[in-house]
Point group: C2
Amino acid sequence: MSATTALLTDQYELTMLQAALARGTARRRSVFEVFARRLPEGRRYGVVAGTGRFLDAVETFRFDGETLRFLREAGIVDDATADWLADYRFTGDVWGYAEGDVFFPHSPLLVVEGTFAEAVLLETLALSVFNFDSAVASAASRMTAAAGARPCIEMGSRRAHEHAAVAAARAARIAGFDSTSNLEAGRTYGLPTRGTSAHSFTLLHDSEQDAFTAQISSLGKETTLLVDTYDVAAAVETGVRIAGTGLGAVRLDSGDLLSLATEVRRQLDELGATDTRIVVTSDLDEHAIAALASAPVDGYGVGTSLVTGSGAPTAGLVYKLVSREDDDGTMVSVEKRSTGKSSVGGRKYAWRRRDGRGVASAEILGLGRSPEADSDDRPLLVPLIRDGEVVGREPLDAARRRHVTARAELPPTALQLSRGEPAIPTYYEESR
Amino acid sequence: MSATTALLTDQYELTMLQAALARGTARRRSVFEVFARRLPEGRRYGVVAGTGRFLDAVETFRFDGETLRFLREAGIVDDATADWLADYRFTGDVWGYAEGDVFFPHSPLLVVEGTFAEAVLLETLALSVFNFDSAVASAASRMTAAAGARPCIEMGSRRAHEHAAVAAARAARIAGFDSTSNLEAGRTYGLPTRGTSAHSFTLLHDSEQDAFTAQISSLGKETTLLVDTYDVAAAVETGVRIAGTGLGAVRLDSGDLLSLATEVRRQLDELGATDTRIVVTSDLDEHAIAALASAPVDGYGVGTSLVTGSGAPTAGLVYKLVSREDDDGTMVSVEKRSTGKSSVGGRKYAWRRRDGRGVASAEILGLGRSPEADSDDRPLLVPLIRDGEVVGREPLDAARRRHVTARAELPPTALQLSRGEPAIPTYYEESR
């Protein structure tokens, strides 16, 4: 895999560049914005994720010799464009919603300002990163809200592209997941990792007792035993017999989790294993997690529905030119005008309106200038890149903490899992 | 990004390995199979994709010094396991459905045989690759079937993780897509790439006429003009005025595509641009493509719904131990037995039953031995890795051609887009 991110890009970014270079319009100062026209059906808020990954990707967005050779040989760009690309390095400014914050329809998640040439090239990469990561984080946030104080463990690697899986683990962590099964996410982002055993491990051994003995003697009695390969009650009994009442946890991966967890809890308590936890997995989503709220469950392992955005595998974000320079140097608001897919021209400034108790009541977008804000309101755009230099990098835990605060600030309806409207409305303060 | 694929893995593969190494069971000969318990709701067939990528990934699945250091320092494995991993290299055998072939519930897409230790480690990676690539190829096949002779162009990069996007372009190509917008897919897999311009390019310029002039003079009159930024009829008129009747194509990206395409075709013909093609984009899926069958459309650009599997973003494949060695060297069939998520133990051999006219009528799985087959029937498993050496690599076009044949062999109901049952039933020939 190449060390440059420059070809993780749609071809039309380069053909537009070529035509604009030839026409002399490529150097026009331009403002692009990333936003969603709507949230996925019924969702009440979205979660910004991908910022840190995007900043990394911009720094390696370079057209090296091999890349340029490919572009020339494939006839994708002409010599003049290839020469321009050889020196490419983003020198503009980027602002964005801070990672972990929430967003609503038309929230300007990312504002990219530079020449048309340098800013248009980042379109595909920005959208790939934010659309995937935000889709996962948005689903994850509903899951962690439903789980309350119980930890959620990300286990979806096998149901996502192998590199997307790493990004999914990161996005889930921002939105409150406790840990991940993905080792590359552990290495790359320092996430806590978890893992014990699968049915295959039990089936490998001559008996469940053999398997549990092997696991406990190697991983310690604090391990989590998978108890649903044959008969759950027999497995729980075997596990406690081997590990003692200090057994860390048992995992249920099939069947009716609500009744099974109740039975297993009773059995564990009767055996004296009152501190042994019960972890459930098996196609959980936010609704299944909520349905288990009254069950004696100590943790949720979530896979498929997390990494596929729980029905919304992409955040639906677009990257639109909203303002660009004229020949006389004036910035002009621009927008598509024909039927469908309309956008609002002009650079946006965004604040979250909050009442005196700190509860969010609206997303206020100022056109061309910052909206009128009270002291209770909160500005949403922070600087990420200034004159081409990344200034917005932060530890992942900062985004994770921010998400807790931003979600807590929403009105209580935001956390309802049923289909509904965005938790707060988005208003434009007209100023054009 | 690391050059090894070894950490694109769930932690439990390594903890199971550690426990099995300590117990002496890690060296038991084992057979794992990849299969789907069911197809996504209403789907009539699935398409195998990812094989070539999986073979590449297995070859770079190595635990280098940095990787081992991470695993030791994070306390994920003990010294004995780290030592074993340092020498890891898959030495077993892998068979699979040939890439581009179709599959049904319980089809053994991949059969991995080796020691438990070496085979269990590949679980997560195999599932990540096949689940994502097959989900995309399965959606793509429905789209190309609906499109008939009209070309489909893959444009979904912005709606998928940036590396998943490259795999998606490859999978789409196998299932009949003509080309892709993704440049890394062009470089890595030699796919034909396409791209012209976005609304931002028109908006950058002082007028649509300026924009079209810039595009045509740089990219040639064979280019595709995006004509729905302001007024479609005016844009078509402008485009033909500048490029002449030899204008390559116009693209419609919003509005009622059926009526718009009809109007634009009439206008182009009246202007004498009878060879100018009409390409449509805008949230197309297989149903929208089918609905445009009677419209004068010459090509479809498909994005979101393709890379998200058109409602089924993962193929639902699992990796299960079905057979393993006993202490006395006998292979024993194994299967999970508790409620839910059952599987059928025993190694599978798969044939596609075909009638005298070559039409597929059933998926026949032999347990432990090849099923009874007629001369009309077709064996489905091909060798991919033998004694650790990749033997199943092939050009992407071979998979693409195979898909055409395999899909054509299915009964006609297979190509219905409505929700239905799998196009052919799966039968086990009991022999245990």
